[in-house]
Amino acid sequence: MLNRRDFLKAGAGLALAAALPARAAAGTAHVVIIGGGVGGATAAKYLKLYNPALRVTVIEANRSYIRPYGSSEVLTGHASMDDLNVSYDALKSKYGVEFVFDTVVGFDPTKKQVRTAGRQSIAYDKLIVSPGISLQYQAIPGYSAAVAETRAPSGWIPGSQTALLTQQLKAMRPGGTFVIVAPPNPYRCPPGPYERAALVTEWMRKHNPSGKVLILDPKDSFVTDATMQLGWHRLYGYNIPNDYLSDMPAGVKNSGKPSPIEWVRAMDGGATEKIDARTLTVTTKQGAVKADVLNIIPPMKAGKLAFDMGLTDASGFCPVDRRSFESSVHHDVFVIGDASIADAMPKSGFSANNQAKITARAIVAQLAGRAPGEPVWENTCFALAGSDYGLFVADVFRLKDGKIARMPGERYLPLDASMTKIRLAAAYQQAWLKTFTEDCFA
């Protein structure tokens, strides 16, 4: 692996003769996008929609995309790994987006070029970097990428670890404990760890009725926490902590009986200090917990590429001009999606999709010599407390004093929502998986 200095040198050392020209024809600007996830794909599509004359190239390591949103449904058999696979064909054939299946190993912001492992030099007029997140396995003593691949999968970036976790759940001994180590903020898909806990609990009721799900959390709260816990309570007899109980609708009462799902917060000693991969033991302040299946969702930072390209700050994410998501470090480079610092916007696919569109508009405007228009973003995170029990957080965001602020008002499913509304939210969540994928990739 190259360190950052090598990385920049590798970019600077480009032979000009080998470089693809930035402008294939006079007046045709070349926008290069690194990363074909939700952010990159949406940016590519919308750039072509906003200005079909642009040349748009996506550099992506994989031939197809494996979507992370909805991927916990693989654990319960509601979706297969194949269902997660998203093709790039429509972006190519319908919109004329070019793809280079390769990884970026060098970057020269002065010459405005990137270099790939396959020794291609690609020049850009504007560069969008959408590298997603990197999982900080090493942040938890005893954990590593190798452990995640073999013993204690994270399954947070879907792939082989998702499949391994699915196998482990199915093979878990009757009455075993499925431990989820939740991540600290900020991380991708804020309701995701808790939705996963719910779906696994639901699955176990059918297939391993004496099994348990235990969430160990370094936080005291999470987005949608009240509505999610109400769902757990109704569906699985979860005991709601006292500080949440007072807000619950009348008639919600804890049984006090042991529940198949339990959430241990930081204030109750939920933060993980270390793990033992061999024995699947998690050590917290409260002592050691022996897991039968151990699912660790480690702390996250911007995707590695963002570090290599020097786009991150001390927070481990990328500072940007919020109006356009142009990097605060390099001119003509834009960072979107989970890797960017977007204030009130969560690290979600929906956010990345909306950021990509605003950035695409800003780039088209810049190239035409216009100022970018007023931005607006939305985010909706749907989550399931059970396959028939939906909830969400929904926000509109605006630029305020140079930062992204959410518009005031209700954002969650109300705690007194009817079962009809709750079931409808689940139906919309399922529909969203389709319409969202289409908006990004087709």
């Binding site: 059918k206 009809t420 509304k421 529909a431």
Partner: protein, 233 residues
């Protein structure tokens, strides 16, 4: 060890049985007698209770507080005959309706509804006056030909008049035959297409398909405009 494997195997097998998406039951087309016996068991509806359910079950979100759909995406139900609404709700609950993904929302909405709930909601819509829906204006010639088709049919194509079952004023007829007056154009056209292309098959003996497939799309659109403009303004 072997017991562990055996158990793991069992779990896998059980999971395989549950894997994948929920299987859709094959839609079953009822006979006239089936429909009759369904309707014979329809409880007496309570309009006031139906009005409350229209809100609490979120029907009103798409079908309107007073049964007038706020958008073309959904059916208007003001003035709809109770047996039709009741039967439709039952069809959704029994899993017979999945002509398009919108039906998913209805299947969700009817989950947990009792027959009494269905009859009450049906009674509420039936108690409301049908309102004319926004529709493209038919020119005199188109209006005349559509009116002829609706009231006289077309013997050359063995098309009986719509009015013979749905009423001269689109008010509906006997049994489950729905009212058409004031129906939103979008909903009317979509419904006819679903009959025509065999996606909606829960009407008695698939009777509507025979009509829908003999009509051109142009005629269907004109009929939609014709019936939408009936009802009070």
């Amino acid at each position: 060890m072997s017991r562990v494997y055996l158990f793991a195997g069992l779990i896998l097998a059980m999971n395989a049985a549950h894997a994948g998406h929920e299987a859709q039951p094959a839609p079953r087309t009822p006979s006239v007698a089936d429909v009759r016996s369904t309707l014979a068991e329809m409880p007496r509806g309570d309009v006031q209770r139906g009005k409350q359910l229209n809100q609490s079950l979120m029907c009103a979100s798409c079908h309107g507080d007073a049964g007038v759909a706020p958008t073309q995406n959904w059916a208007s139900l003001a003035g709809q005959r109770a047996p039709y609404t009741y039967k439709s709700l039952l069809d959704y609950q029994r899993g017979g309706r999945h002509e398009n993904p919108r039906a998913t929302l209805m299947k969700v909405a009817v989950k947990g509804m009792s027959r009494q709930d269905m009859a009450d909601v049906a009674a509420y819509y039936a108690s409301l006056p049908a309102k004319a829906a926004p529709a493209p204006r038919l020119d005199a010639a188109a209006h005349a030909s559509t009116d002829r088709l609706a009231r006289r049919g077309d013997p050359a194509r063995l098309l009986t008049p719509c009015a013979s079952c749905h009423g001269a004023a689109g008010q509906g007829g006997i049994n489950e035959t729905p009212a058409l007056a004031g129906q939103s154009v979008g909903s009317f056209v979509r419904t006819m297409q679903d009959y025509r292309e065999g996606r909606r098959v829960t009407d008695a003996n698939q009777g509507m398909r025979q009509f829908a497939e003999r009509l051109t799309m142009e005629e269907i659109r004109e009929l939609a405009a014709y019936y939408a403009s009936m009802g009070k303004n």
